[in-house]
């Protein structure tokens, strides 16, 4: 299968994502420049972390209008896998592919450290080889990761099993003390209605080798690969996206 990693001016985790796919997953991967709408036949699009367009105005607000995004939105709407990590999640929110918005971290600080994530659903191409409830150690690195959505939207996300990951303690404890940024209901990652689009604030592409602190990020990449084993993404069998 082939991954496409979008590079916006200011992306800084594009190489991490590229190497995760090439070196750990041994799959084909190509960079996609933000100014070129050609997705080059990618089966999965990764919108990487960083500060696209300097995060000016709001994180993701300018990137959302980059030429490549028209193709990415059409690809997502046709059931294609689109995975936004950190800044990429912010871009997906601004693009309307996922509901809600990011506020500044409640402590007003950029936070870069390992956190624990509880796997809340295995019904997605990104988590289908992870055990339900599994605790993954994955780093965060952001200043605006305080997920916000109106209560009604949060209820809808939970009712439809669209919360992919929550911040938790080392043993899966869900408590405010383990919420690194103030996110509503400890949400770290969400799926769209079609389950083919994932927005995730922490960085699995930085958790691909034990020597770097954790290899738990491999589980997500392996899930994506596994979901393509039958020639199509598990999410692609679902109905249209939100």
């Amino acid at each position: 299968m082939k991954f496409g990693v979008v590079t916006f001016p200011g992306s800084n985790c594009d190489y991490d994502a590229f190497c995760a796919v090439r070196d750990r997953l041994n799959q084909s991967v190509e960079f996609l420049w933000h100014g070129d709408p050609n997705l080059k036949g990618s089966d999965v699009i990764i919108l990487p972390g960083g500060f696209a367009h300097g995060d000016y105005l709001r994180a993701g607000a300018i990137a959302r209008f980059s030429p490549v995004m028209k193709s990415v939105i059409a690809f997502a709407e046709s059931g294609g896998l689109v995975w936004g990590i950190c800044n990429g999640f912010q871009v997906l929110l601004e693009a309307g592919l996922l509901p809600g918005a990011m506020l500044r971290n409640r402590a007003l600080r950029f936070s870069c450290r390992q956190v624990y994530l509880k796997t809340e659903t295995t019904d997605s191409p990104y988590t289908n080889s992870v055990q339900l409830g599994a605790v993954l150690k994955i780093p965060i690195a952001h200043a605006e990761g305080n997920y916000y959505a109106p209560e009604r939207v949060l209820d809808e996300l939970e009712a439809a099993d669209r919360v992919a990951f929550r911040y938790c303690g080392p043993h899966g404890e869900i408590a405010d003390e383990y919420n690194p940024n103030g996110s509503a209901r400890q949400i770290a990652g969400i799926l769209n209605e079609g389950r083919n689009v994932l927005g995730l604030m922490p960085h699995p592409e930085r958790a691909m080798e034990e020597i770097l602190g954790s290899a738990d990020g491999c589980r997500l990449f392996e899930s994506v690969l596994g979901s393509f084993a039958g020639g199509r993404a598990a999410g692609g069998t679902r109905a249209k996206v939100a």
């Binding site: 105005l57 709001r58 607000a61 209008f65 929110l93 601004e94 509901p99 809600g100 918005a101 506020l103 500044r104 971290n105 409640r106 402590a107 007003l108 305080n146 916000y148 959505a149 109106p150 103030g182």
Partner: protein, 80 residues
């Protein structure tokens, strides 16, 4: 023509910056400041058109780009 777009967080949306500024005012000795909400101001230099056209254009720009309707509201003022 000039349009001033003021973008604010919606009431009820947590404003950590506003809270921090309010706390700072308290430690500076200011009393009687019950709360602070932060926001952004954009000044658009518009060419052509009358006041109403300029207002419409500024509102469209605010809707599409300057404000995120999930968390923010905006007001537009137009000056000759």
């Amino acid at each position: 023509m000039k349009a001033i777009v003021t973008v604010r967080l919606k009431p009820g949306v947590l404003d950590p910056q506003g809270v921090t500024i309010a706390n700072a005012l308290g430690s500076m000795g200011y009393t009687g400041v019950a709360g602070v909400r932060s926001g952004k101001v954009f000044e658009l230099q518009l060419t052509n058109g009358d006041t109403e056209t300029a207002r419409k254009k500024a509102e469209e720009i605010a809707d599409k780009l300057l404000a995120n309707p999930v968390i923010e509201t905006y007001t537009v003022e137009v000056f000759k």
